[in-house]
Amino acid sequence: MNRELAALLADVSQPQRRASGVALWCAAAAAMAGISLLGLAGWFITAAALAGAAGIAAIQAFNYLIPSAAIRLLAIVRTVTRYGERLYGHKAALFALAALRTRLFGCLINAPSPEYTRSAGEAGALLLQDVDALEDRFVRAPAYFAGMVGAATALGLAMPAGPRAFLALFVIMAAGVLAARSFARRVLPRRALDIQEQIARLKQDFVEYTAASPEIAAYGFGPSIEALLARQAARLDDARVGFARNEALLGAGVTALGGLAIATMIALSRASLPLTLLAALAAAGALEALGATIRSLGRDAVVAAGLERLAQLAAIPGPTAAPVPLIGESIALGDDPRSVMLAKGDRLAITGRSGAGKTSLLECLAGWRTTCGHSLLIDQRPLAECPPEARRRLFALSPQDGGMIAGTIADNLRLARPGLEDEALWHALGIACLADDVRVMPERLLTWIGDGGARLSGGQRKRLSLARALLAGLPWLLLDEPSEGLDPATEAVLCANLDSWLRETGTGLVLVTHRSAMLPLAHRLLELPD
């Protein structure tokens, strides 16, 4: 874990201090109650046995009411505090992680280049998994404190057994915990990382061979590839078994320590039999509580191995100084000698073979990517001097694939600009020839359009995206194949609507299309070479 992630975690945990505190004290109380319950029960039984053996007078003198009531009280206290520990521990974890997710999303936004954002977007699902894994870590946090409090309780109860027994218990617990920790630190993280690495390799192999599946099928060498994958999977299994073996060793050590503690207490105690048993059983209880924290060292190692990606993300620096704004008075694009100079309000159509880089040119202008293969000048400044953030305030892009978010029609349109009224949305939908479609949808503007707009047709997505670009109200409109998937009649209406909208608003246009019907919209033409 790097410093940034640690700081981020501390930051999101801060508001949850109260819930964490309650969880902590509940856990401590539960450990105390559990250990006292066992110790007191041992004392009670032994004292009762001695009194029983000593005859009727001793029995009558034996006060059984207080201990038996205390035993029941401790049983209830342990139950309630355990419930409290779990509930408040989870509460703190859930709210802290909710904040963490949002903060990490913020880190993604600040990513230095749009390309980074893009590749990070693919890792989005992974990111969520990593954050989920952290929940475990948060929830287990009180167990450490509880283990310590339990140890202290047991030491307190061991005092009557004499200084030697007390010291012996202290040494057993301290040495046990330290030894387990050093063993775990030395052995587990390496193996947890090994597991992660083997998984990554298996994935890489899988991706590689899946991509080449036609070739594998064509020559029929599937079985040898399967054998290769099986070998890598076996390596992963080996790594897992190696980890599990050490984890189990740790658990076995803790259990053995419990037995050792009981035996030592009985052997060294100088107190009466009941107090000896009180001390012995309390010691056993304390080692059980410490054991839980030691066993979780394995889980910690696994979680830590998964934090690497989050650490990378957290290390993305925040936004630097605000970029120098661009005016967008002039744009020069295309390579010499076929370059085009556009002034405010000009309209250009770009054509060219597929693969010539038309889409990346638009995405580059719009600040969705840092650079593209073509030379660009904005306000006579080369692209390198026009940061993507500044470009985003000049150009509104309607991308080729629509670029919808999962949400309603209105959600998607309102991405364009804050404070848009329904009326404005309908107006834009009208220009984009989509208003009629939306009007017959079950919930009109509030119709859910599915993941990536999957419930709309390709043409509808295109027009919705166009309406959104219109709503952004920026000086330049960038359209990538806007009439794709439209019938000629609608295409003609769209063309006319756009023409008058551009004229009224004085907005400039850069249009990428391979349909001749849209070409009249532009005044100039640039054909990109291959």
Binding site: F44, L50, A51, Y64, I225, A284, I405
Partner: protein, 432 residues
């Protein structure tokens, strides 16, 4: 698509790790251990054992009650959580759009609200869900307390009812020390609920996957001579993308170049011939007879967009296409595929070891390995999917000439974007 497959093949398997390694053994222990403990306790005091067992009855009732409520609530909650992760993934995917419109602050705020809301609702659900845990805790503590009180009063001889056993200290202590172990495995099982949830979800997902078709190893070689292929209104439907209908004829023994803009289904058609694309309508005819989906596997020469490399030497990798080819044959095709230079620059020649994890070969060199395989296999039917992509224009042209030359007399279906390469073919088909 690929991401999903990888997740199913690897992550979902990882998910069932905890289910098998922790949850299942604990579930067995949760049933077996209490019975064992009760049996052992019965040796010292059968009444104490009976007390332990008796607490199981209200415990089971409580668990059944809390369990049903909790599992219903938890199932609802899982849906909510799944939707939230969906929302995050969606917004991360749509980041370019969000940034493009400068909507990041609004979207972040919206996400913050949504996550806080989900956290709030989850806590409400947990209040109920943890009740079952509390019930286990309560009975675990109660069983210890009851055994302790019973033993103490038995030892004192103060029990308000007659019992047929008199305990001594060692027997009383024996049952007392056993008592906490009675509920311990159930407490551990309750703590493994996350392993159970994740594992069951993964198992459900894995069970829903369509089983891999059993590949029939057909000893009969389908292709004795270069075939003619006819596509009749073939439609390929991947769910999110649909290709076709496409009709075309590929003449036997000729080189046919197939071109068309991106997305018109050129690669999909080649995949369909190998039974790797979901053909939902139309027919593919091989020499006039319908082609069964896997009939051509192992029967063709192929060079495509990705080349599968295995650990081993360069020669081993080429030889995958025809395992019994001689060294001289392998050397010959390597030369014709333009691998000579690669061979010369890496000291060991064709014996150069290849690390399939990327390092060693460039994209163009990988293509050449694929072409060498196609040449070595020399099947009656060649399917070549942009075999010369990743190469500069000059070498692409040269290699294409070699391919066309070597493919004379075979049925060659060559997908290419380059007009110059298409011009080398006997026939040209343009998809639109």
């Amino acid at each position: 698509m690929l991401g999903e497959q990888v997740a199913d093949a690897i992550d979902r398997i990882e998910d069932i790790d905890g289910y098998h390694a922790r949850f299942l053994p604990l579930r067995f222990a949760a049933v077996a251990t209490p019975l064992l403990i009760a049996a052992s306790a019965a040796l010292a005091s059968w009444i104490a054992a009976a007390i332990l067992l008796a607490t199981l009855i209200p415990f089971a009732l409580g668990m059944a009650l809390a369990g049903t409520v909790a599992s219903r609530a938890a199932a609802r909650q899982l849906d909510v959580l799944a939707r939230l992760s969906g929302l995050f993934i969606d917004r991360i995917r749509a980041l370019p759009v969000i940034l493009g419109f400068g909507a990041q602050d609004r979207v972040t705020r919206q996400l913050a609200e949504a996550t806080q809301e989900v956290a709030r609702r989850t806590v409400v659900v947990l209040r109920i869900a943890f009740l079952s845990g509390a019930i286990i805790e309560f009975f675990a503590a109660l069983s210890v307390a009851m055994v302790a009180v019973y033993c103490g009063f038995n030892l004192l001889g103060l029990l308000p009812f007659p019992v047929p056993e008199t305990l001594d200290l060692s027997r009383a202590l024996f049952v007392l020390i056993l008592a906490p172990e009675f509920y311990l495995p159930m407490r551990r099982l309750a703590a493994a609920y996350h392993d159970k949830q994740v594992g069951e979800a993964a198992l459900e997902r894995l069970a829903a996957l369509t089983p891999a078709p059993v590949v029939a190893t057909s000893p009969v070689h389908m292709l004795a001579a270069p075939p003619a292929i006819r596509f009749e209104s073939v439609v390929i439907d991947y769910g999110e993308r649909r290709v076709g209908p496409i009709s075309m004829h590929i003449a036997a023994g000729c080189v046919t170049a197939l071109s068309g803009t991106t997305g018109t289904g050129k690669s999909s058609l080649l995949h369909a011939l190998l039974g790797l694309a979901p053909v939902v309508a139309g027919d593919i005819l091989l020499d006039g007879r319908p082609l069964s989906p896997e009939a051509l596997r192992g029967e063709v020469s192929w060079a495509g967009q990705a080349t599968a490399l295995v650990p081993g030497s360069l020669a081993d990798n080429i030889r995958l296409a025809r395992p019994h080819a001689s060294d001289a044959e392998v050397e010959d095709v390597a030369r014709r595929a333009g691998l000579t230079e690669v061979v010369q620059t890496r000291g060991a020649g064709l014996a150069t070891l290849i690390d399939p994890r990327g390092s060693g070969l460039s994209g163009g060199e990988r293509r050449r390995v694929g072409i060498a395989r196609a040449l070595l296999r020399d099947a009656p039917l060649w399917l070549l999917d942009e075999p010369t992509a990743d190469l500069d224009e000059g070498s692409a042209m040269e290699l294409a000439r070699h391919i066309v030359e070597a493919g004379r007399g075979r049925t060659v279906l060559l997908v290419t974007h380059s007009a110059a390469i298409a011009a080398l073919a006997d026939h040209r088909v343009v998809l639109s």
